[in-house]
Amino acid sequence: MGKLVGMEVALAAAEAAALCRFEVAAVYPITPQSHVAEHLSDIVNDGRVDASFITVEGEHSALSAVIGASATGARVITATSSQGLLYMGEVMPIASGMRLPIVMIVANRAVSSPINIWNDHSDIMPMRDTGWITIFAENGQDAVDMVIQAYKIAENRDVMLPVIVTMDGFQLTHVVEPINIPDQEEVDRFLPPYNPYATLHPDRPISMGTLGMPEIFPEAQKAKDVALVNSIRVIKEVWDEWERLFGRKYEAVETYRTDDADVALLTMGSMGETAEVAVDELRRQDVKAGLVKIKLWRPFPFEDLKKALKGIRVLAVTDRAVSFGGPGGPVFSEVRSALYDEDVRPKIANFIIGLGGRDVQVGDFVTMVKRAAEGKLAEPYEFYGVRG
């Protein structure tokens, strides 16, 4: 089943889109996503998929182009990073409001200023409320599998929503990892050709992206919210099917050594693997530590999170973005809010880490866990390791 290859993750993610036989790609290159754009363009140029590659003048156009293409019934792909994602922001809620199953690869990168091309989550977090299903890859295998799964989720008639698969810029996009690339036949069995709910065609005129007067707008927004909330059922079904066919398990919230844990770390994205090593180190030092990893950010997996945190006394939530002037990092806010109605809930500390590519090492996670366990935190949230 599949073939294990050593491949740069950005290229592998583009290969995954090719296995899904995308028909239109519109991508504007931006570091650290550029290798995705280049490789998609190579794939189209080499005739490996029957697709058009639209060379757009910017990210707003990239997303607008795939919105149009998707509305005609094409399977589409786009990708971006950082300022590019913010530039797409204006059309992001339109893609979801029109219920188009677009798949986008986001190579997470800090947003300016100061200008910084390295990784954190300050680009993806402002997109939280735009109505896209958002899934975080932890490693190259996740990235490949999640791109393929994304089409199956997005195109499900009970979902019909765009999906972002995020992967940390450089830390994932630019590393070469051993990745199992599924065979074309396997992907074809898993993912049938796109059968759209409705399409734009001159011979059969319909209206998409219509005006919504005050008399209908709130109902339309509620319908979109319900669709997003309910999509978790389909996401889990797709992950179950994936496990049956490909043998790799995916969960909205993954846990590592939490069964008897007293204190746990919470991460999203590529730092999960470093945090696992830290948990092993803490266990060697007789600290009952565990790790909770959120893979599904939207729809937020409330029940899975509560289950994962059973018995945890102290939780150290790590954030890789700042909610300036807010209650703490965005992940921290969500997690704390999710637990508000629980009778028994952990004490939560918030560490803002890894901003703009600042390295976070095993020893840092060990320190965070120990500090959180001792309850020694100066502020509701802490910029971990910041000098001064």
Binding site: M98, R99, I206, T210, E215, I216, E219, A220, A223, V226
Partner: protein, 97 residues
């Protein structure tokens, strides 16, 4: 969203608010917004058709004599026709009542 003007409940909203009935926007009478109406003085009109071209509602049509007039169901009173008419044949006057 087929026959009714809009759905009663959120459950009835078509995915993405798609509308499957072509031309249904013509049922929305933008003329109800109008505070001023264009009035043509055909003695000044040279039948150039610029008002017809510029009207953002597309509600100006040519009549049998080759003059132009607006459909008041859709004319929203923006005044673009009056602004563009180079002979000054169109005046915007206040709607009364």
């Amino acid at each position: 969203m087929t026959d009714k003007k809009w759905p009663e409940t959120w459950q009835e909203v078509n995915p993405g608010c798609m509308v499957f009935r072509p031309g249904s926007s013509s049922e929305y009478h933008t003329g109800s917004w109008r505070a001023k109406r264009p009035v043509w003085d055909n003695t000044k009109c040279i039948k150039c058709g610029l008002c017809y071209i510029y009207c953002p509602e597309g509600c100006i049509a040519e009549n049998a004599e080759g003059f132009f007039q607006a459909n008041m169901d859709y004319c929203k009173g923006c005044g673009i026709c009056a602004n563009e008419c180079w002979t000054g044949a169109i005046k915007m006057v206040n709607e009364e009542g």
